[in-house]
């Protein structure tokens, strides 16, 4: 069974009555994801998606009524930290936050709060998770990937789609693809997910898509050296990005001497990871 998102996924959509939430709930449902409920404070008792999905005022009520174990968050940045706390408090095991623009200080508090809880947070600023052919949680388009043995962990959105699409063109499928988000402070990082792929019978090889900023790729390299038996291939975006500038993603910034692509590529290669020079080359390296 696929990791994180699979046949056992029982999903609620926080912010289901918003424009984004409603649209993507429809997409997820069409892909076969088991959506049990939506949450929208003040709209409890109503129904969405042709009267198929009940809406609740709180995550707690939704969980009590449906036994949901996963939540996806589409609420605006101002309300998103609250939505994460609420989901964790209600006992949701996997929270996927799509929202972009949450202040760093808010995320530091969220991260500290979650440290001693069993809730796993993916994102924020994440495109979500897809286990092709089974289910998807988030906004990754379903038709650009098929089921297969490659696991993907990525800090990016469309760059991930690019790699998924290139793999599909070469008839290479994916077990589970996780977009961990482009913010400086995120829930799960590479090292939190690599062990899941290592244990996952559906996954033979892993693609890691990183970018400038922070040192998550360096820490992943260390983890790979010490713990991974499955081959890992990587692509790192931002080889020629200037230091001190935020490259679109809040987390993509070279600060002083830390976070450069060169350092990430070097440590990954030292860990035996093949690093592609451009996204399409990932296909050649993984084949």
């Amino acid at each position: 069974m696929a990791i994180l998102v699979n046949q056992d996924t029982r999903l609620i959509v926080q912010g289901i009555t918003g424009h984004e939430g409603l649209f993507h709930a429809g997409q997820m449902l069409a892909y076969g994801t088991n959506i049990l409920a939506g949450v929208s404070p003040g709209k409890g008792g109503s129904w969405e998606m042709q009267e198929k999905i009940p809406v609740f005022d709180s995550v707690k009520l939704a969980v009590e009524a449906t036994g949901a174990n996963t939540s996806v968050i589409f609420v605006p940045a101002r309300a998103a930290p609250d939505a994460i706390y609420e989901a964790a408090e209600a006992g949701i095991g996997l929270v996927v936050c799509i929202t972009e623009g949450i202040p760093v200080l808010e995320m530091l508090r969220v991260s500290a709060y979650l440290q001693n809880r069993k809730t796993r947070l993916i994102g924020p600023n994440s495109p979500g998770i897809i286990s092709p052919g089974i289910a998807k949680v988030g906004i990754i388009p379903g038709h650009i990937t098929t089921r297969g043995p490659i696991g993907i962990i990525s800090r990016s959105g469309t760059l991930t789609y690019e790699v998924l699409n290139a793999l599909k063109r070469s008839v290479i499928g994916v077990s589970t693809c996780v977009g961990i988000g482009g913010d400086p402070i995120i829930g799960n990082s590479f090292i939190d997910l690599l062990p899941l792929y290592e244990e996952d019978p559906d996954t033979d090889k892993i693609v890691l898509i990183g970018e400038i900023g922070g040192s998550d790729e360096e820490r992943a390299s260390e983890y790979i050296t010490n713990n991974m038996t499955k081959p890992v291939v990587a692509f790192i975006a931002g080889r020629i990005s200037p230091p001190g500038k935020r490259m679109g993603h809040a987390g993509a910034i070279i600060e002083g001497s830390s976070g450069s692509a060169a350092s990430k590529i070097q440590t990954l290669e030292n860990a035996g990871v093949k690093v592609a020079r451009h996204p399409e080359e990932v296909v050649d390296l993984i084949a």
Binding site: V104, L105, L108, S111, L159, E162, R239, R246, A250
Partner: protein
Amino acid sequence: MKLHEYQAKHIFSRFGIPVPKGKIANTASEAKQIAAELGGKVVIKAQVLVGGRGLAGGIRLAKNPSEAETLSAAILGMEIKGLPVQRVLVDEAASISKELYLGITVDRVLRCPVIIASSTGGVNIEEVAQTTPQKIIKVPIDPLLGMRDYQARELAVGIDLPRDQWRAFIEITRNLWNIYTSQDATLAEINPLVLTKDNTLIALDGKITIDDNALPLHPDLAELRDLDAEVPEEIEARKYGLSYIKLNGSIGCLVNGAGLAMATMDIIKLQGGEPANFLDIGGGASADRVAAALRIILQDKNVKAILINIFGGLTRCDEVARGILTAMGEIKPQVPIVIRLVGTNAEEGLKLLAGSNMSTAETLLEAAEKAVSYARGGEHGDPG
């Protein structure tokens, strides 16, 4: 968003951190006036948002008001690392006994704020960290608990601060922490924090960076943005919600998604070209946004070719193609353009573009190759 030194010092002062008496001057005569008011020696400091002002001659000591005027006139005419000096801060000169460092930033690995202090201040702290790491004391802070006084005391001990200064140091640290949290800073730094000859601690220079994601919560801080210090194209891009960064190459880039935009720049370089910019057009490449992006890219006269790279996920490529055609009709760019559309309805999109005089490419590698060749003045599909 970075604040100027004088803006940071206003905030320091509001939160009870001692700063030298001083005022901002837009002209040399204003600087003379301020120097006269302050009496005695003053320091004239260029207000630009880059480091290394001192080495560039942007910080000078004036012995009297007329020298303050002469030096200000010289500094106000300067450019420091390409940025024109529009204002100078005229500060009362301090008698320095010791220069320290105190700063708060985010530790991305520990996922918490860290307060950093050093007995070596007034220099680039990154260099201190590399050359003499033992002189850097770091204390991680639990973001749910906030800074406690014992943690500031730990720093004071760590940098060998005399005991009679602990109380003042703890108060400054607590106030800096209050600034960091209440203003949603990602960096709040006093460098140097000076111990004067009459035994007081004072913030001689300061840096505050505000989290861009938090600016909507702080309209007062958003107003402090210095548009003179920014590239005009970057200001215009912000108006349209586009993420644009000007670079020095000749190939304009228009891409949806930040990671893909970086990867596109990288592949241009890999093919021997130089990108003119980073531009993330965001979700849904509508005609309006494409037109705005093209206008901004074309303001840069170095641009000799444009590479448009759009991945249609939920956005359909045929819609994107229509948007591009509408925008082209409006802007009529005079430089060759390579377009790559991938993903949903890419074939339909490419068909729509076939009639135009734009060149298309299937792979990213091919697109980059073409753009590089056009930028060098090579053959391209533009008959005009």
